[in-house]
């Protein structure tokens, strides 16, 4: 079974990739589910987080895994401030304005990175960069295995926050019925900004998990942003489980597709899935709202 010997590692590889996709998409879907806005700046914020993780490692000698809580906190603040004082103010309550504003933010961040750091691709090396975990069916690089486990852990934490805490209850209330939430005394603008902050904090964490096995460049956000959109649409906008399952599915599709079609056309596959989904099933496979 030669084919199986290639196919299985490819699937495992896709799952580890997909877990990080899922994490990035979770942030996006949380923001969509609560604020009902599409955050175009998601990819470039991830890129900014990758640079932050890179310089924390290169400048301060901080291991990316140790930097994770720090970065998550920092990006929570960034996200909160962005929504509270930039996006929320500029939208005038219109969806199309939000789209334009987040597009503007993403262009500004991406090109500021290009200006500051040039187009160079940068990578880091950690002590475990070349270590392999033997799963019996496949060899997985340690950074990827850790990324997979941590991504699922963070997703669980996020789920617990939304489902089991007061904050989560407020977020769900605002997502469902913002007028009603206001009436019972929830500060809607605050919850909006909190949700945006959490969605962005997830990016800070995802960046730390990605960096040891990936690279950073000013355009790296583009690699993820359409994948994240695809995952979110595939899973159903605002659906939590959908983002998880969708992320893993897209990771496997890309990995297995790349095996058969070559990398460039494997990338095309994601776009084709994305367009087909938008056209035929814009509510996604798990078309329920974050609830």
């Amino acid at each position: 079974m030669l084919e199986f010997q290639i196919l299985l590692p490819s699937i495992v590889n896709g799952l580890t990739l997909g877990a990080v996709y899922a994490l990035v998409a979770l942030g996006l879907t949380l923001i969509y589910g609560v604020l009902h806005i599409i955050n175009f700046a998601h990819g470039s914020l991830l890129m900014a987080a990758l640079y932050a993780a890179f310089f924390a490692h290169a400048g301060l000698g901080l291991d990316p895994y140790l930097a994770m809580p720090l970065l998550a906190a920092a990006f929570f603040v960034v996200g909160y401030a962005l929504q509270r004082w930039v996006i929320g103010k500029a939208s005038h309550g219109k969806d199309q304005n939000v789209l334009l504003v987040t597009l503007g933010i993403s262009i500004a961040i991406e090109n500021l990175a290009l200006y500051l750091f040039r187009a160079d691709t940068r990578t880091i090396e950690t002590p475990i960069s070349y270590e392999m975990l033997d799963l019996g069916i496949a060899l997985v690089p340690y950074p990827r295995a850790i990324g997979f486990a941590a991504a699922l852990g963070i997703a669980a934490l996020l789920w617990w926050t939304i489902e089991r805490t007061d904050l989560g209850r407020a977020i769900r209330a605002v997502a469902k019925e913002r007028q009603g939430a206001k009436l019972v005394g929830i500060d809607v603008d605050h919850v909006f900004a909190l949700s945006f902050g959490i969605g962005t904090a997830v990016l800070g964490a995802a960046a730390c998990l990605l960096l040891p096995s990936f690279y950073v460049s000013p355009s790296v956000g583009n690699v993820f942003v359409l994948v994240a959109f695809t995952v979110v649409v595939l899973g159903g906008m605002g659906s939590f489980t959908g983002a998880l399952v969708g992320g893993l599915a897209i990771g496997v599709t890309e990995s297995v597709g790349g095996l058969f079609l070559g990398q460039q056309l494997g990338q095309l596959g994601i776009f084709v899935i994305f367009i087909a989904l938008l056209l035929f099933r814009p509510t996604g496979l798990f078309g329920s709202r974050l609830a």
């Binding site: 599409i38 304005n97 503007g104 993403s106 367009i275 938008l278 035929f280 814009p282």
Partner: protein
Amino acid sequence: MSAWLQRALLGASLLAALAFPLVAESGFWIKFAFTTLLFAYLGQAWNILGGYGGQFSFGHALFFGTGAYAAAIAQTAFGLNPWLGLPLGALAGGAVGWAAGYLSFRYGLRGSYFALVTLAFAEVFRILANAVPFTGAGVGLFVPLQPGWAQLQPGPIGFYYIVLALVFASLWFAWRIENSRFGAQLMAVRENEAAAAALGVDAYALKVRAIALSGAMTGVGGVLYVQFYLYIDPSLAYGPGISVEILLVPIIGGLGTIFGPLIGSIVLHAASELARRIMGDAPGIHLVFYGVLLVVMVRFLPDGLAGLLRRKRKAEVPRNA
């Protein structure tokens, strides 16, 4: 503003535009004017779909690049006269526009979803143009240098007059649309699609027509671009940079107004040239500026500069009355 003053102002700016190459001292300013006018024209194309029709496209590079490639390929591979590239570019851009509109409006995509799908279409074309041989793949296509009006390479001043003519045609076209049944229905769909449909407007057919028109116009702009710069590659043609610049122009100037795109393009390019002189010619810096400008405009002037003028005029009315 009285009608007389308006007409005098229009006539004066027309004369100034016609005389501009006679007083512009350097090739730099001619090139600057060419770019500004080209984007005023492209912005008007976007304005028809986005401003009057309310359908925000984030992927107008799709039509721009298709027009540019269609003309460049027809010329380099089949020896077609570049002048014929203009109708060919319009045809190609219009056809792609029709197809994109057919697909996305057929399935009821609107708002954010429409923006996303146009972006994805442009990206698919960029990846394809990078992969297939007849676009020259990543290397791009070079159009041969053959100076002279016969080969559509009339030199900077000639290009200036061609694009000036295009801008005037597009202004006239926007004026015609504003005062036509088509335009009225388009604006009705923008304001409230369900209500327009209830009144018997075929919103789907209308939107497809608008995007095909917009695509055809944008395609012509792509042809002109490729003849001016003699080169096109996948990220120049289909990259998000072009899409963003095209949509910025009418948003800055004023959505759904005749002169919005022209005003927007002049302000955008003048300001970005100024920024370039102050901050130096570093890669990316003018795009940072575009991004910030987009946020600031939506935040403080959501109706654009033309909206500012109109607001002022409205405020004047009670005083005069």
